[in-house]
């Protein structure tokens, strides 16, 4: 059984007097441990699909099942609990809380657990260490570079040890070197820790890190051949 199963998923939006349907009757399976890359032009519905997988949006039709949980149904607070335990979200911008240190930012998802403070701190330090920023633990976001901020955001996404990491153009606002570091980190999480990564990008180079590429256009998915790196 796949980790992620989308069956007949449709999502529509109303913009003014018009109804837009970025996803129409979409079927998709993503296996555990895949580095799945979703390509497509702007406005094609990539982020919409990502949000559905992460359980922060609901489909108008069809079902989205992740790890056996129907994330299109259920109460808002149950979905929030599910997200806290099973999904790490990496955004285009790091979106760190500016008044918290790197360590505290990484620790935030663990605030939702019953772990004692010492254990939370230990796990946050481990996550920061995994992204190579342990020495920056006490720094505020404004004291970090853009690339470092994004790595802290990745540490925040993995600290609760979720099976699924969704990344929405995680290198979109980074320079080449920082982007490369972030992509290598995501790839390592996939190969070394067995995380399932679903990444949205329109950058072909970033996409080349994926183990499976799919293009979303006009509401439909089409497979893209993966060129060996």
């Amino acid at each position: 059984m796949s980790l992620i199963e989308l069956r007949g998923v449709t999502r529509r939006y109303t913009k003014g007097e018009h109804t837009v349907a970025p996803l129409v009757d979409v079927d998709l399976d993503i296996e555990a441990g895949e580095f799945f890359v979703l390509l497509g032009p702007s406005g094609s519905g990539k982020t919409t699909l990502l949000n559905l997988l992460a359980g922060i949006d609901r489909p108008d039709g069809g079902s989205v099942v992740v790890g056996g949980t129907d994330v299109g149904a259920g109460r808002s607070k149950d979905l929030a609990r599910w997200r806290a335990a099973h999904v790490g979200y990496v955004f285009q911008r790091a979106n760190l809380v500016p008044v918290l240190t790197a360590q505290e930012n990484v620790e935030m998802p663990l605030w939702l657990t019953d772990l004692p403070a010492k254990e939370r701190s230990r796990r946050a330090a481990l996550a920061l260490s995994a992204v190579g920023l342990l020495e920056r633990a006490a720094h505020l976001p404004k004291q970090l570079s853009g690339g470092q901020e994004q790595r802290v955001a990745i540490a925040r996404a993995i600290v609760a040890d979720p099976e699924l990491i969704v990344a929405d153009e995680p290198t979109g606002s980074l320079d080449g070197e920082s982007a490369e570091a972030v992509l290598r980190l995501l790839a390592r999480l996939c190969t070394e820790r067995g995380k399932t990564i679903v990444m949205v990008t329109h950058d072909q180079h970033a996409a080349s890190y994926g183990t499976r590429l799919v293009r979303l256009e006009k509401g439909q998915l089409t497979a893209v051949e993966v060129a060996p790196r």
Binding site: D57, V97, P109, A160
Partner: protein, 376 residues
């Protein structure tokens, strides 16, 4: 506790805005506590313990001590009235009959009788000088504190020149704003020899105060200076009627203070959450629930008002404690009594106003769809 950490830090994002809000809340709370202290002082004065058995004989149709003039010899006839246990002739001399923040009130009475009839507890100095020396005086604790008077000091006001022998406290808060002097000396200074302002009458145990008052007034009904005898509480109510009216206005001001608190905090919290809609969306995407966001935003509102309340209530208490402000009218000094209840009431109202102010932005932030927040 984990959310509390973020609540505190969030207020530090816009320090100037938070500080100004806290100061605004503090100023409003200071005013609110002042009004409540006056209400408390007034209530305390009107609920004097011995009010039920105490009567005040005043000149009929006179409402200010400066115009109430009764012959001193009335005392002997009043003392003989059935039901009268004791009597104290009092000459009142004051600087201002109207509402005043710096009321100076002298009560001239025979020293031994004053000490016997009034509930006075010496807190500094001695009684000897007051009893034995013609210019000896005892001052009420709040008046001494307000004017910085100590035993041994001389106090001169108009033609009255006295030496402070001691400082007293009293269960009757209005007494603590009084300077107690010899009757004869005050009569001379006020050029009212042979007359007094009022007689304080103590009714015998078991006697009906109302009936005693009627008997006293009946004695002088046809005299040139007829009397009006009322229970002390009624006399105080009448004398402080202007203050009650002021207090009514004060209560509206207090309500306005609460609206100010609510508006200030709501404005600050609203701006705060508008600036970080996306950040709150990120929290929700991470797994924070609506309740967490609600608590976070409400926490900020309550913390702002709590800081303002602490500063405002604390400041007001300190000012009232060290300045001993009282407001006087018609010779009755009402101290602004800021006790623990006044402080607690002020703080509780501020916290409630803060929570009410934060409720709408908190609900709006918590209920905003995550996707919408992430696109903000």
């Amino acid at each position: 506790m984990k959310i509390a950490k973020l609540v505190g830090r969030n207020l530090g994002r816009r320090k100037a805005r938070s500080v100004m809000t806290v100061l605004g809340v503090a100023a409003a709370l200071c005013l609110l506590v002042a009004v409540d202290s006056l209400a408390s002082g007034l209530a305390g004065a009107l609920q004097s313990e011995d009010g039920a058995r105490s009567l005040v004989v005043y000149r009929k149709n006179r409402y200010c001590p400066q115009t109430s003039i009764l012959p001193e010899h009335y005392g002997a006839r009043i003392a003989a009235v059935d039901g009268v246990e004791s009597l104290l002739p009092v000459q009142v001399f004051l600087n201002n009959c109207r509402a005043s923040l710096d009321l100076v009130v002298f009560h001239g009475a025979p020293p031994e009788e004053a000490l016997a009839q009034r509930d006075l507890r010496l807190v500094a100095g001695s009684l000897d000088g007051y009893v034995s020396e013609r210019d000896g005086a005892l001052v009420g604790r709040s008046f001494a504190a307000r004017r910085g008077l100590e035993p041994g000091d001389r106090f001169r006001f108009g033609d009255v020149d006295v030496r402070i022998s001691g400082v007293f406290a009293s269960s009757d808060s209005t007494q603590e704003g009084v300077v107690l002097v010899h009757l004869a000396g005050l009569q001379r200074a006020a050029r009212r020899l042979g007359s007094v302002t009022q007689f304080d009458v103590r009714v015998a145990e078991g006697a009906d105060p109302k009936a005693v008052a009627q008997r006293i007034d009946a004695l002088f009904a046809t005299a040139e200076e007829p009397t009006d005898t009322r229970p002390k509480s009624a006399h105080l109510e009448s004398a402080t009627a202007d203050l009650v009216e002021m207090l009514r206005l004060g209560r509206w001001l207090a309500l306005a203070c609460l609206v100010v608190v609510l508006t200030l905090v709501a404005n600050t919290v609203w701006m705060g959450v508008q600036e970080r809609v996306r950040e709150l969306g990120v929290l929700r995407a991470m797994g924070f629930r609506e309740g967490h966001v609600l608590r976070l935003v409400l926490g900020e509102a309550v913390l702002l008002s709590a800081l303002g309340a602490a500063l405002g209530v604390g400041g007001a208490l300190l000012v009232l404690r060290f300045t001993h402000i009282s407001i006087g009218t018609e010779g009755i000094a009402i101290p602004l009594e800021a006790d623990a209840m006044v402080a607690l009431r002020g703080a509780a109202l501020a916290l409630l106003a803060g929570a009410a102010a934060g409720l709408l932005p908190a609900l709006q932030s918590a209920r905003r769809p995550v996707v919408e927040a992430l696109h903000a």
